[in-house]
Symmetry: C2
Subunit: 305 residues, 2 copies
């Protein structure tokens, strides 16, 4: 099967890794959220793309759950000794990707080109596409005022209650080359178990992507991020409550609306009403878990095709 | 004594460290060559200023003789895995300074301000001044064509024969704040045993600096970089031969001409004719050596004052 998956960072990357190792998948394209991208100390950082690159090339840090496996923190120590900002941790190995990407972008390369180059050099077979080469920035309107994504997510550790989420630049952003084609030409499209409001909505806010999901002949299957009414990681259920929603699959299905055709959800949660659904254990700890969840989602896609 | 020293990188920094620990010195200002400064991967790198900062704060690498003591090279490994340039080695600890400085400069700070801030945070008592806040770039016309300094010095390891050296931007550069004052108000001015053509000439090419050396009431003492007709490190004697000069103190004294009043030279080399001079062992291995050479230079300054 030709599979296209829309994804955010850590949780989504687990599904993408499962798809990469699934015998059912003949070709795989990941379309990745770039709403978290930001400039830090002048460096261009793309957290979700980085997570995909690290996860699919075996470089992700299994202990901390994000970033590159890095035994050394000499950069941060030197930066802090100079009074530089300490709230965003960059391992020494991470710096290589960020500095290299920043230099390539300054030379005029697009984020798509830089991402494809890194994937090729690191031996990653799936295609990794940023949702857009144009800048899109996720902002949260919170009780503590407006916060750029990383300040909310990392610096404030998701503490302030969220009132709304918006995606600056999204209305003018164009899908990156290949994104619409990958959705239209797929045999199945999956939406990874990333935070719908923070990690998937930026993708849907880029003009053309939601329309392509409705138009494609492929079934579109969302994998719910909930396990027992909570996200495995991150603020999904806390945010849902702050937005006045029940932390259940009905609310997530209602949020996605007509862009999805079915939902794979954890057996500990109720199925969304009125939508084709399949229950499975969706916790992805081992590689075997990841492949199994990927296969479950593709099985569900087969039944609604 | 109030001492001002004009210096390049590694060799010069040894003398500055000696001056810092000399009982004769009550206040010390180092005016540092920035002709080696360059942008690498978008980062602002100031090799000679960095060497001073590392040396005077006890962070220099005693083994490799340049850069910050760094046990880890994760950045370079990641950079090379992405096809990035490997010819300029940056330790993980170095990145902290380079990234921080680049971000501060992008915010509008001057190189003087950034350097002073780093020196303060790292507890360095002497004043470290870049020769200029304006860009000056040392270029070498070689048998292999024109080469920017770092490409000649690091990438080509000083192999191509040098025909001429020039300092792009120098004619329009202004001395950094405090430079002229530090030369005019000193009790003694030293020129460190750096390469006269590569590391000291950029300083002299900034309009106003050579004039201040001639005008100051302080004696100006050059410490010769030669020990037994060769530089301790670097291409001084090789370059002198390529420029048609004998590798001796007479040629160095003739090159400096009226900007110096005296020369401290190694006992293994002949004194320059027609110039007050003092012979000493100028090899600086231990800290005691460095203090002794500093004191010898200041003693000579006292005799010509």
């Amino acid at each position: 099967m030709k599979v296209t998956v829309l994804t955010g960072g850590v949780g989504g990357a687990k599904l993408v890794l499962g798809l990469m190792h699934s015998a059912k998948v003949s070709s795989l394209t990941a379309v990745v959220n770039t709403g978290d991208d930001f400039r830090h100390l002048g460096l261009a950082i793309s957290p979700d793309i980085d997570t995909l690159l690290y996860t699919l090339s075996g470089k992700a840090d299994p202990a901390q759950g994000w970033g590159r496996e890095s035994k050394t923190w000499s950069f941060m120590a030197a930066l802090k000794s100079l009074g530089g900002p300490g709230w965003f941790n960059l391992g020494d190995g991470d710096l290589g990707l960020h500095v290299w990407r920043s230099a390539r972008l300054a030379e005029g390369a697009t984020l798509s080109q830089v991402t494809a180059q890194a994937a090729r050099l690191w031996g990653i077979a799936p295609v990794i596409l940023p949702m857009s080469d144009d800048p899109v920035a996720t902002w949260l309107d919170t009780e503590a005022g407006p916060l750029a994504f990383q300040h909310y997510f990392v610096e404030q550790q998701c503490r302030p209650a969220v009132r709304a989420v918006r995606f600056e630049g999204a209305a003018k952003a164009r899908p990156a080359p290949g994104v619409i084609e990958a959705i239209l030409a797929a045999d199945a499209v999956l939406i990874a178990p990333s935070n719908p409001w923070l990690s998937v909505d930026p993708l849907l806010a880029v003009p053309g992507i939601a329309a392509a999901l409705r138009e494609t002949r492929a079934p579109v299957v969302a994998v719910s991020p909930l396990v027992g009414g909570k996200a495995v990681k991150g603020p999904t259920s806390k945010m849902m409550a702050e937005l006045g929603l029940e932390p259940d699959n009905a609310a997530i299905a209602a949020h996605y609306g007509p862009v999805i055709d079915a939902m794979l959800h954890d057996g500990s949660d109720a199925a969304p009403p009125g939508l084709p659904a399949r229950a499975a254990s969706t916790l992805m700890t081992t590689l075997a878990d990841k492949v199994r969840v990927a296969d479950e989602a593709l099985t569900l896609a087969g039944t609604v095709a």
